[in-house]
């Protein structure tokens, strides 16, 4: 009896729902032809003038070609695997009011489009292109202009983001967001992009096993590269230049930072590379040039800093006392105002076999390593650490006298922070070749001219 009643109610509900579905399907058919296509052309003059319409009728795995023109449409939503292919001059414009493309499907490719003018938002993660919960996406040869987030990938796997040019909105940190933002994603490759003027150029947040390589990131309002909680990632041959706060990486393990250029990152809180709570990682073969601080190791343990060049920085390397068991080897230190800074008499990291341009020792047994250990922490650097205002006396005779006194009889500088075998000659380091194409379209060091999107 009771069961019978339930059965009646259920079937009635199903009937009602079914009718509703049919009705809505009929309304849809009235607007757009049912037949779906594998190749659809959208153009301002053709039969299909809106990308929205093309998306509604495209078949799974189909392709939409977008001809030159400016398209001002509500935010596009992609819900099946398709390829969006923009011709030269195909522009999606957000009119300062909305994001442009939201993708909720796997295997979507977005290529050759210009995304522009999303406006900024404090209430939503407004992105020119936003991917959710998918996999195997490709975003290549696009241009992003005046976008809040340019590209936001959330819970994505195995995506490739390459050869895009991204230019953020002008204004303050709060008016602009990140260039490429990965959240909770895995196996993403971000390569050969040129990113400027965003808050963070590239931000990996809870990403794993991902790669950023050969990107050029300049003029970021905060960090050129920022990552947090992103283990097992690689950052190779990128160029991070003149970002307001340089590059900061935090809370990650087994990270490889190899062959990048960190240059001209200057400011009161700017670092070439700030490593905070980074463990078991590798910083190798990078060039740190003309930064306020080249590298900072804070709360970071068991890392290897090897074969890098530190040139013409304010501080070359800052090794804080809470960083333990790091190895600093085979690096070149030249023309830095302070080669090494620290905040304590104690240090639990080791230095060995670096080249220091201030080293004045000798090598009687001709084994290439100086016979006199080198203490790279100058007393004046320690004074400045304790009393930052003393920096006004930089290069004064008194600063020189303090250093000299300490060199003759070291009592204040860290006894453990000493290079026991400094290299007598400059190490021959592989030339660092990093970065994508430069912003004016010239070929940079990687020499990959053919990779450039046509219109630049």
């Amino acid at each position: 009896m009771c069961a019978g009643l339930v059965r009646v109610v259920v079937s009635a509900t199903a009937l009602l729902l079914g009718t509703a579905a049919v009705a809505s399907a009929q309304r849809d058919t009235a607007r757009v032809p049912v037949s779906s296509d594998t190749l659809i052309d959208v153009s301002p003059t053709g039969p299909i003038r809106r990308v929205t319409d093309a998306l509604a009728r495209v078949a799974d795995g189909g392709r939409i070609r977008i001809a030159a023109g400016v398209y001002r449409e509500p935010t596009l939503v992609v819900e099946r695997p398709v390829t969006l292919d923009g011709a030269k001059g195909a522009i999606l414009d957000g009119e300062g009011k909305r994001g442009l493309l939201v993708v909720r499907a796997p295997s979507v490719t977005v290529r050759g489009l210009v995304f522009r003018n999303t406006g900024s938002s404090q209430t939503e993660d407004r992105a020119a292109v936003r991917f959710f919960e998918g996999a195997d996406c490709t975003v290549e040869h696009n241009r992003f202009e005046d976008t809040f987030f340019a590209l936001l990938l959330q819970e994505m796997q195995r995506c490739v983001v390459r050869h895009n040019v991204m230019r953020g909105m002008r204004g303050t940190q709060s008016r602009t967001a990140n260039g490429v933002h990965l959240w909770s994603s895995e196996g993403v490759v971000v390569e050969d992009n040129i990113i400027s003027g965003h808050r963070d150029g590239i931000y990996f947040e809870f990403a794993s096993a991902s790669v950023a390589r050969r990107n050029t990131v300049t003029g970021s309002l905060r960090y050129g590269l920022h990552f947090m909680f992103s283990d097992d990632c690689r950052y190779e041959a990128n160029r991070f230049e003149a970002n307001q706060a340089g590059v900061a990486v935090m809370y990650a393990k087994r990270v490889h930072v190899v062959g990048n250029i960190f240059a001209r990152n200057r400011g009161s809180a700017a670092y070439g590379l700030l490593l905070k709570d980074i463990n078991d990682s590798e910083v190798r073969g990078n060039a740190f040039t003309d930064n306020t601080v080249g590298v900072v190791l804070e709360g970071s343990n068991r890392n290897v800093v090897r074969d890098n060049r530190f040139e013409a920085n304010g501080w070359g390397l800052r090794l804080l006392a809470n960083a333990q068991d790091n190895q600093v080897e085979g690096n070149l230190f030249a023309r830095n105002l302070f080669d090494v800074g620290t905040n304590s008499r104690s240090s639990y990291s080791t230095m060995r076999g670096n080249h220091w341009d201030r080293y004045r020792g000798y090598d009687l047994d001709r084994d290439g390593a100086g016979d006199v250990p080198y203490a790279p922490v100058r007393l004046f650097a320690l004074v400045v650490e304790r009393a930052p205002a003393a920096l006004v006396l930089v290069r004064s005779l008194v600063a020189g006298a303090l250093d000299l006194a300490e060199r003759v009889a070291p009592v204040l500088t860290p006894a453990t922070l000493i290079d026991p075998a400094p290299l007598m000659r400059r190490p021959v380091l592989a030339p660092v070749q990093a970065g994508a194409l430069s912003l004016d379209g010239r070929v940079t060091l990687t020499g990959r001219r053919e990779a450039a999107p046509e219109e630049f």
Binding site: R266, D290, G314, N336, A389, A390, L391, L393, L397
Partner: protein, 291 residues
Amino acid sequence: MSTVQSPVWLGAQRATLETSVATPSGRTPSVVAAVFAAQWREIARNRWVLAYAIVLLLLTEALFQMGGSGVRALTSLLNLVLLLVPLVTSVFGVVYWYAAREFTELLLAQPVARRRLWWGLYLGLVVPLVAAFSVGLTLPLVWHRALDAETVRLLALYLGVGAALTASFGAAALWIGVRQDDRLRGLGLMLGLWFSAALAYDGVVVWLATAFSDWPLERPMLFAMLANPVDLARTALVLRLDSAALMGYTGAVMARTLGGGPGLAVSALGLALWIAGPVWLAVRAFRRKDF
């Protein structure tokens, strides 16, 4: 220093002055110009000024050979310039004053304004020293053809700063000379002044910075730098040399106040005050002095 007291020396000056007074055209000659011309001729031949120029020249040359670029040579010269220029000016200035004492008294017997006489003496001291300094720094860079735009800008700054330090310490030397008749004591006082400004002052500043490191010291420190011509000269140069390093908070405050175009104007104004002050003191003392 034997030359400065020889009768030949005084004779030459007197002769110069007489010829300039007896100009056939009957114009009243400028006292400043006449005294300056006499002193210039004398000092330009002085072997100490020559030695000063040659030492600077050799140092610049050597540093250029080692560093390989004009900017690097000048960077290495920083402390040398800051130490040597005030020291040489101090010692030479005091000795110069005492040596010219009889000549000065002779001129004071003539109807010439004391202020003008003083300016003649002052320029006669400062201009040859500045010339020696400029020649010593510039020539090696010229003959190595190292004068690219960057080097030229830095060199100009060095020459300006060097000239300002010479003018400031030169005036101080003449002031101490007027106030102190005892030569030895005068020299001692001047050396003490140099030591305080070039060395001891910074020591005190370091001590203050560490002792009061819990206070926001950025601005007081800036005033401390403005209050000493040697430090002012150094910060002006350092802000051009190490801009990357100086972008920490202290550096940022420093760069904003003393760096860049407006900052350079502030430095220049500060140095100008550091010339005007001693000059005013020295002129006043010279006018009031009962010889």
